[in-house]
Symmetry: C2
Subunit: 391 residues, 2 copies
Amino acid sequence: MKHWLLIVATVLLALPAAAEVSQTSVPGADTPTIQPDRSITFKLKAPEARTVQVAGGDGLGAGPFNMNRGTDGVWTVTTPPAVPGFHYYWFLLDGVRVNDPASRTYMGYGIETSGVEVPEPGADYYALRNVPHGTVREQWYFSKSTKQWRHALVYTPPGYDEHPRTRYPVLLLQHGSGEDETGWTRQGKAQFILDNLIAAGKTVPMIVVMDRGYASSELSLSTLDKLRKSFGAFEEVVIHELIPTIDAAYRTLPDREHRAMAGLSMGGMQTLFITLHHPEYFAYIASLSGPVLPDMRGARDIDQGFRDPFDSQKAFEGAFADAAGFNRQFKLLWLGVGTQEPEVFRDSIGRAVHSLQSAGVHLVYFESPGTAHEWQTWRRDLNNLAPRLFH
Amino acid sequence: MKHWLLIVATVLLALPAAAEVSQTSVPGADTPTIQPDRSITFKLKAPEARTVQVAGGDGLGAGPFNMNRGTDGVWTVTTPPAVPGFHYYWFLLDGVRVNDPASRTYMGYGIETSGVEVPEPGADYYALRNVPHGTVREQWYFSKSTKQWRHALVYTPPGYDEHPRTRYPVLLLQHGSGEDETGWTRQGKAQFILDNLIAAGKTVPMIVVMDRGYASSELSLSTLDKLRKSFGAFEEVVIHELIPTIDAAYRTLPDREHRAMAGLSMGGMQTLFITLHHPEYFAYIASLSGPVLPDMRGARDIDQGFRDPFDSQKAFEGAFADAAGFNRQFKLLWLGVGTQEPEVFRDSIGRAVHSLQSAGVHLVYFESPGTAHEWQTWRRDLNNLAPRLFH
């Protein structure tokens, strides 16, 4: 009898009986709504508009989708079933990209952008649950190299304030291009993923530092040279400003054995760039959906760099040339990608994984089934990665 | 010679020589720009639009302002000199209210809204300066009365982590209607105001708790009865959930002599409502631009309530009837308003101030010269109020 109740309860939880308003909507909003089959209904009142479309992240479907005008001046459309997770979206109102007034906004594509959250049946690892919660804190610090005040977010684990003599390992966790330091908590729910893993005893309590991944005034990153210069400016900040700031302001274990760096997409590229330059600072490395650029010199397009062959002897200035030495030095190399990501990502990461494994480099490779170059991939990545850190 | 340099430097700092991009814009944006005379130039690319206007908060000017289409499809307008400070704004694109893609967004009017920051010459009390910084922390807590997870922001003063045996007084600080718990830090710069005051030795280090001022599912607050019910739900949260949560999670001095409540507009109304019901919890009370509702019973419109006469004997169920007793019990009653606020605010607050002072109730009345029902008024208010707390 109890089993039967449990099964019914599980099914009820897994399949919402009716359309529900997205968790990303502002209080009181009745749109967008997600149907039980994960199709999404969007709505915008624009009586004078001639055309209204909705478009968004890959997981939303092909798009843009034409919306239809009702007699009340409200335009609506129901898009095909979406991939679970968080998707950026926007309206094209007579061709102008605008946000949905019903949605909270999230930093993506370099601007504030609407978002919709499609529940994944049975997945509660990123939910706000009744477990002890860590705290996300704002950290301002003055950066001499960029002559700017910089803003980072810092997760301290449950118990941090209650145990003022305990010191913790540190994970630096970076967002992707066009996003900022708020991405991992607002879109990624990193704080809840860590809370839930720590409560389940699957992950050691750690401090997570989410910094803003831009440090260069050079905005165009079209060539490998420009990208390397931009990453170099961020490397300077991370090594000589961010890490000392965090080690001074928080009770860290300030050595390489207790420091990890991870990042998604551009943040994954930055992670490989910075950690492989500074093995004295990091023992754990993770690149989440980060195209692997084995050689960042020259004025070639970045897209060409993504297609470079990966030679484990020469890549990253020879960082992997001595596989046995690399395996002794680093406790973890973690690479991941979603199966629905664009081919250029999957190919670049796949080539690196194949070449490194063939050369005897130890690594963990994680594929997120059915998810795109979007946050559901990176939530799953963090959930897989965090338990492997600091053992 | 040195004096002369100083004067020139001051003038140069006070009068920007050229238009500057608003501090509220996203990185890389070149708009909106503020001219030295505080006029603001707005810009939006919308080649197919038929009309584009810009409108916003009172301090921006009358508006909406018609924008003019250039041959490149970019619409522009320069609005009249604005009041210094933070102003919400939006475009009307063929009649639809949309955000400026160049702007960060801020929770105002119940939706994410663009904002522009007009510098006030010589005012650096809310600037991010090279002084010790406190930390803003996210606090989640489960509310039994509303059956929801609630989200508050908590400022801990500089030195909080370094002195794990020190306990601090607490200021509860509330936003206005249509805003949320992020308003006081993102729009108000409360954390920098406190940092600067504490660094100057003008204010005692304190914890500042900024909660979300909504606790009722009743969204319509059109009548006094409905408003009272909504405020009552928030009162229940503040007294029986928020205060115990904060006293458990932070090193507070958990008595009335070390607890203050302040709020702006709706938050000021909530402050009077809650503190006057619970003198056992609060010794300091401040209402910033909060219309004073002496009697919240009945089905009358709120606007009518704003125009009620203030009888110091009967108002707030007789809380002020014994002036000498009130003066002994409370260490501070603080009321403020901006001189450019709408008449209904100034009249309501002015009547209460006059009546209370005539009856012998001690209070501090602060007028912000030249500012509207906007954040520059409330920044000045906090800068005036905080030094008066906890002596």
